[in-house]
């Protein structure tokens, strides 16, 4: 099923790559302020890219929900919205780690249906064109499912993870080939699609961090389960190989982290 027309995809690719140019110019990066908690940093580049992409997306007449724009509640209840993270992994970005990206997702009736994620330092551009077709740099992608014992797991944790979340991390680390925390959720999910990881999960992650990447993951054949929270801009997710998702869900439920 196609959700989005060709011309719109062309426009989105264009503006995302233009935005990647802004990020790639690493001159004059200023940390403007720290949000609460202190680990959440905002740079001038976040705001610059946010402004550039928001302007580009405005042409679609679909409201834009962004990490750098507010308020959440007024926007999230609309039928269609763009969820935008201008720089996912800002701490990595200012620390000269290549693990950061631009993430744009289209949410329709609270379902993630389209995504475009650009990882400029890795020269990677991911997008989907339907619920069954997604691409990395133009090459069609299909996730290759593996068991949890053969899986490398990418984990997204908030700034102050709970004891239960840390215990889950420990348990999954034992069940799998190992757990990693990269600091860029959209990259975790996209690398799960291409089997650099086999599964990724996160608790209390922001919608704009994952909206695009989860749409791409679904269209690659990854199993995706989401625990949306009412009137909140956060959610829990597990995405990747069938068996690995099942096992992580089982462990999460045991610890009372997944209540559905």
């Amino acid at each position: 099923m196609k959700f989005i027309n060709k011309n719109l995809i062309k426009q989105l690719i264009k503006i995302t790559l233009e935005a990647s140019k802004i990020i790639s110019d690493k001159n004059k990066i200023d940390v403007l302020y720290n949000k609460n908690p202190i680990k959440e940093i905002v740079t001038n580049k976040d705001l610059e890219v946010n402004k550039f992409l928001t302007m580009g997306l405005k042409k679609t007449r679909i409201p834009v929900l962004s990490e750098e724009s507010r308020p959440f509640n007024l926007i999230y209840n609309k039928k269609k919205i763009w969820a935008l993270d201008p720089i996912d992994g800002t701490v990595n970005y200012i620390s000269n780690s290549p693990n950061f990206g631009i993430s744009i997702g289209l949410i329709n009736d609270k379902n993630f249906i389209f995504g475009i994620v650009c990882l400029p330092a890795h020269n990677q551009l991911y997008f989907n064109t339907s619920d069954k077709k997604c691409y990395l740099n133009g090459i069609s992608l299909k996730h290759n499912h593996k068991k949890i014992s053969e899986s490398l797991v990418a984990v997204s944790l908030g700034s102050f993870p709970s004891d239960k979340e840390m215990l889950l991390f420990k348990n999954i680390n034992s069940l799998s080939l190992g757990c990693l925390r990269t600091g860029c959720t959209s990259m975790n999910i996209c690398w799960t699609v291409i089997n650099r990881f086999q599964v990724s999960y996160g608790f209390n992650v922001k919608i704009w961090d994952v909206a695009g990447a989860l749409a791409i993951a679904k269209s690659s054949g990854c199993k995706v389960i989401i625990n949306k929270k009412n009137n909140s801009n956060t959610l829990d997710f597990i995405a990747g190989s069938n068996n690995s998702v099942k096992e992580i869900l089982k462990e999460s439920k045991k610890l009372g982290l997944w209540k559905i």
Binding site: L12, L17, K142
Partner: protein
């Protein structure tokens, strides 16, 4: 008692060439494919004819079909008395058959246009009995109307050679080479003196809207570019490789004659398919141009081939979104994200500089009417 040979991929090489060179008295042929049209015919017919062109004539060989299966049936398929398994399904599809290959104890012969697929399979199935093969041949995936009338599965190959890495025991007209010689001589020659000009002929043929490679080669402008790209590669290989120059020249001439062969009916759609795969960084177009530049040879004609690949349009092709990518990216981003070139490297600069000029030259080719260009 005959043994079973399973052939995964019943296309040009799988259905056409392999049964031609394998000994029918020793083997039964089991075909696996995902093309329902071909599968239904394979299941319905008990046999078909594979034709070899020799001395400008078609020589036919009757191929008995033991059975045929869809790729989705592989999970349940158990093959007894299996002697060999040939893989010629296309490098992109290897991942879909790994689970089946894991169950096989017989030698697996990989006839893909990419030696890396052998390592990929070996790594994933943990079986050392995986061997690379280079079919030095052009096989069409169809045949002229008169042959199709006799049997819809009829298929035409040239009189080629099948080179297989030493190791497995195979009955048939096979030439065995050490892995080193196979890669150094046969694969190098095939990649750069066959694959490169062959796909350029196909992309240009698509621009002038003809159906077969030999039709494209009748056009003097196409022929000039194809022969030019062959010469660029020939010059580069002579500079860079320790391979007999006589062999390289013989190989190049043989290939040009193959492309012109009127009996082969080699479809443009087959040769030009999946342009993004053909534009891979180490492949027959970008890799070839890089190699030329590295050796100081200006790849004027190969650049035309690359740009004509960008312009390939076929709505049924798996890479038909190449047009979308072209139109949504600046040449700089296209080179960086799609071709994998580093910003500022010679080929990146050349493509950015010459893209519009070459594109306009190629568009001019479209203006010729088919009958005027021969």
């Amino acid at each position: 008692m005959k043994k079973n040979v399973v052939i995964i991929g019943a296309g040009a090489i799988g259905r056409g060439y392999l049964p031609l060179v394998l000994n029918n008295n020793k083997y039964n042929f089991v075909f696996i494919d995902r093309n329902l049209k071909i599968l239904n015919l394979l299941k319905k017919k008990k046999y078909y004819f594979s034709y070899k062109i020799k001395n400008h004539l078609y020589l036919k060989k009757k191929i008995i079909i033991k059975s045929a299966f869809h790729i989705n049936q592989l999970t349940r398929l158990k093959l007894k008395n299996l002697s060999l398994c040939f893989v010629c399904i296309g490098p992109r599809n290897i991942k879909d058959i790994i689970f089946f290959l894991k169950k096989i104890n017989a030698p697996i012969i990989v006839c893909e246009n990419d030696p890396e697929t052998v390592n990929e399979i070996k790594k994933k199935i943990k079986n050392k009995k995986v061997f690379f093969a280079v079919p030095d041949v052009i096989t069409s995936n169809t045949s002229p109307r008169k042959l199709l009338k006799k049997n819809k599965l009829s298929i035409v190959s040239e009189d080629g050679e099948l080179y297989v890495e030493k190791g497995p025991k195979i009955y048939g007209e096979i030439k065995f080479l050490s892995k080193k010689d196979l890669l150094k001589i046969q694969w190098t020659a095939k990649l750069y003196l066959h694959n490169t000009p062959h796909c350029i002929a196909a992309y240009l043929g698509s621009i002038i809207n003809v159906k077969y490679i030999h039709n494209a080669m009748k056009n003097q402008f196409v022929r000039k570019i194809v022969e030019g790209s062959m010469n660029e590669m020939l010059k580069t290989l002579k500079l860079n490789w320790d391979i007999s120059h006589n062999f390289l020249e013989w190989y190049a001439q043989k290939e040009i004659n193959r492309f012109k062969n009127k009996l082969l009916f080699d479809p443009i759609s087959r040769v030009a398919r999946e342009p993004l795969r053909k534009l891979e960084i180490n492949g027959r177009l970008i890799g070839a141009a890089q190699l030329c530049l590295y050796n100081g040879v200006f790849p004027n004609n190969i650049l035309k081939g690359i740009v004509s690949a960008f312009m390939f349009e076929n709505q049924h092709d798996a890479d038909n979104h190449i047009e979308l990518l072209q139109n949504s990216m600046t040449p700089e981003h296209f080179n960086q994200y799609i071709l994998g070139l580093r910003s500022g490297e010679p080929l990146d600069l050349l493509l950015k500089d010459k893209l519009n000029q070459i594109r306009n030259e190629i568009i001019l080719l479209r203006k010729f009417k088919k009958n005027e260009i021969y």
